[in-house]
């Protein structure tokens, strides 16, 4: 039996090695300072300077830090900062801008499926018809070893806490909808076998590719969109009013996983990385072929049956997932094309 020690409010997280990341701008600097010192001893939050919050590394890193208080916490931050009113106020300001931009930019994707009746069919059709470049096809056929590793690094922020945001959704759902989500979560959490815990399988993949498998190791290195892709799940799953968007996001995410996972696994094998690096993706080919059906039909369909008013938000959540996925693919493909141009320029 373990003995517990420590007083009220003063306990620090025991998570090894996760410390507050270095700030990259005024917002993340403000968040980092407030996390360490509390709200009373720091100046007010900086004014938002405008522009896209989805592509602001500073704002997304700040939001990621604020959300982490609900997950693993930080070694150098007292745990009770999770409910610090100043931090909550700042989080809500950032969340409002994030949600507004997502509704504006991703929302219209839902209009394309207006002719289908069932919300589950609508979400699956949205994922099926998601436009944009196919990152997974490129990874399968053409990517260099360095690009495959770059891809794994970018995905690390969201995959190392895979399924954790959706666990916050469970108490907000009822009856068969709750049962369906719990069934998927059980599978995501290893179906009774710690070796099959998906987030650990991703850590193993990182290690096999020569990357640091530690939680949060790359938050300063990944793009704003990679942070936004992780943050959007917290936005939807930590705010009960957004439960419709949360299930829509989840279903679209699962529905854009099985086929791409097969391609990514083939790409990992093609560039000669060890099989431990592709095992995570192999697992997701079969797992997500199941999950996409259950998530779309039982979770999205079930929730809209119980709460018809949430129909539009379910589609918004799916659109948000697909929009960020497309942005991420375009960003990575663009980065790799630029690198190739630079290498060609240096060689000539």
């Amino acid at each position: 039996m373990r003995c517990l020690a420590g007083g009220y409010g003063s306990s620090m997280s025991q998570q090894q090695g996760t410390r507050v990341p270095g700030p990259v701008g005024p917002i993340s600097h403000h968040v980092a300072t407030t996390l360490r010192n509390g709200g009373t001893s720091v100046p007010p939050a900086p004014e938002w300077e405008g522009g896209s919050i989805i592509t602001s590394h500073d704002a997304q890193l700040g939001l990621w830090m604020l959300y982490e208080l609900a997950y693993r916490g930080f070694e150098d931050v007292p745990d009770d900062r999770e409910w610090d009113p100043d931090l909550i106020r700042l989080r809500r300001e950032l969340e409002d801008r994030f949600e507004t931009e997502l509704r504006e930019k991703a929302g219209p994707l839902a209009e394309r499926v207006a002719d289908l009746d069932e919300v589950g069919d609508q979400v699956l059709a949205m994922a099926q018809h998601a436009s944009g470049v196919s990152l997974s096809s490129y990874l399968r056929r053409d990517a260099t070893r360095a690009q495959v590793i770059d891809f794994l690094r970018e995905r690390s922020v969201q995959q190392l806490k895979e399924s954790d945001p959706q666990s916050f959704l469970l108490p907000r759902l009822e009856g068969p909808v709750k049962v369906a989500l719990a069934e998927i979560q059980y599978d995501e959490y290893g179906a009774g076998d710690p070796a099959r815990l998906h987030q650990s399988m991703f850590a193993d993949a990182l290690g096999a590719a020569g990357l640091d498998p530690a939680y949060g190791a790359y938050v300063n290195d990944v793009s704003a969109v990679s942070l936004a892709s992780a943050n959007v799940m917290s936005l939807f799953c930590l705010n009960r009013r957004l439960r419709g968007a949360a299930v829509g996001h989840f279903a679209a995410f699962e529905a854009s996983s099985s086929v791409p996972s097969r391609r990514v696994s083939a790409g990992i094998a093609r560039v000669g990385l060890p099989s431990a690096a592709s095992a995570y993706f192999d697992e997701h080919v079969e797992a997500d072929a199941v999950h996409e059906q259950v998530a779309a039909r039982d979770i999205c369909g079930g929730l809209v049956e119980l709460e018809p008013d949430l129909h539009a938000d379910v589609l918004f959540g799916a659109a948000a997932a697909l929009h960020l996925d497309a942005l991420s693919a375009a960003e990575l493909m663009g980065r790799w094309a630029d690198n190739a141009l630079m290498e060609r320029g240096a060689a000539s």
Binding site: V285, E286, A287, V290, Q293
Partner: protein
Amino acid sequence: MKDADVRICPDGPVLVRGATTVVDQDGREHAVTRPVVAVCTCERSGRMPWCDSTHKSIVRPALRSAAP
């Protein structure tokens, strides 16, 4: 033991809950290792008998818009 529960997904796989093995058309047994499995119905999966979502790239107009 509870009987297995089987559900057909339109244009998709068959979801099976509560089974311990699935026997394929050649008589081989495949162990079920997750709470619910998706069994391929399009016969194009690269991981038979399990669904790998290959059905998404197959157009099955007969199921959707059969002429009267």
